[in-house]
Symmetry: C2
Subunit: 237 residues, 2 copies
Amino acid sequence: MTTDPYSSSLQGVASQRVADILAGRILSGELPPGARIKQDELADELATSRIPVRDALRMLEARGLVVIRANAGARVMTLTRRDLEVSYEIRERIEPLLLADSVPHLTGEDLADLRKVMERNQGATDVEEAMALEREFHWITYRRHSTPLLAQIVERIWDTTQSYRRDYRKLAMGHTMTGAGRTHDVEHQLLYDAVAKKEVETAQAALVLHIRRTRAELARHSGVLANPGSGARNEAG
Amino acid sequence: MTTDPYSSSLQGVASQRVADILAGRILSGELPPGARIKQDELADELATSRIPVRDALRMLEARGLVVIRANAGARVMTLTRRDLEVSYEIRERIEPLLLADSVPHLTGEDLADLRKVMERNQGATDVEEAMALEREFHWITYRRHSTPLLAQIVERIWDTTQSYRRDYRKLAMGHTMTGAGRTHDVEHQLLYDAVAKKEVETAQAALVLHIRRTRAELARHSGVLANPGSGARNEAG
DNA sequence: CTATGCGCGATCGTATACCACCTGATGGAT
DNA sequence: ATCCATCAGGTGGTATACGATCGCGCATAG
């Protein structure tokens, strides 16, 4: 039970329940990018009718987790290498905004939580655990934001890129465990220190560094990761 | 007719048709922020059942145009002053990315279109016309992008802020028609010149200036515009 | 052997009817 | 005057049915 920064409450509403379950499966990698999602099948499995399933799919489309094509079904969102690259460029530019909005209002307890997660992360060896902790770490720094709009955009990007980050981590774990892993930890430490001291601009710089280096790392390895990039300029019907 | 980066055609699909109509009403201001949307009513009016209407509402929720609360109905998205401010800060940071991605690939015809729209805009006095031309102008500069993800985010922000921009323009038209209006035109000219010369960084700078100044202008007048801002830090169930 | 077109099945989209539940408002009791 | 209970409107969900559309395999032509 990780403290997922997303997870909406509302248990009684079937569509929300379906959406949560589906989102979990996508974010956990159980449903990989490109996987087809059949409405009947899912409705049957979750003991509900197709309407909540359809509603859930629309909700997930809103979050960028699935893509729906009329009469052709829903599939888990796929990103091209370029999309992934762009996602990081966007993060680099807007997450500092979210951070600056939150940091001044973080409490002592928030900082304690942050430190705890950071330290647990430094000892983590399991990919799933590391991903969850990484996510939690950053979202604690964003915890006291007052800009849901911005947070939603950021979260959406985290969600849509999650599967690809996982693929990378699994790949990287084999041969860079000590090198890249350590750098990652150092960056977290830098970010934590700046956040704890409420040095907003330093924290922003640390965050940008962190995101940019991760992007570069990911780009370096993206050759082996799948994806038939369509180098098309805009779309035309 | 703005160059919508997605806008699926598909006329046969009722839900898409409903979504398009609803989006039009919201963007035109016919349905102002906060307006309630009743499913039965809309279904009846458009001679369809509630299912396509629900689907359409979910689609519009995905675009950030409406907000759906379980059992409490759908309403046109409302932004607080803070949301509006943040929207502009986001635009300031990510639209230059989109611009840089597109400008190098703009054709001579694109530039001709751009110039045409700019000149028509300089003579426009009608608020609706000016808004449409403003939108078209910028989207022509983005026309040759290859990053639908980024374009989608940008378009979403344009959509959700449209009603508020309209309110401002209507307000400003009365007493700043010559002052602010001229500045606006000059900025467009600066952007156009840089784009035409394919000076990407200059164009980006001009764009940032344009967005930032618009934001400042809007903030200055936002006092009179509605909105009961909830100064709450994050949400808590 | 490859390419083109056809047709059928699997799914999706939509319609209808009905019940269950939530929300907001109305009105009465303290 | 404030608070709580009740009630209608409206949405969420279920069940069922049927037309429309897309993918894919198969037959046929080159």
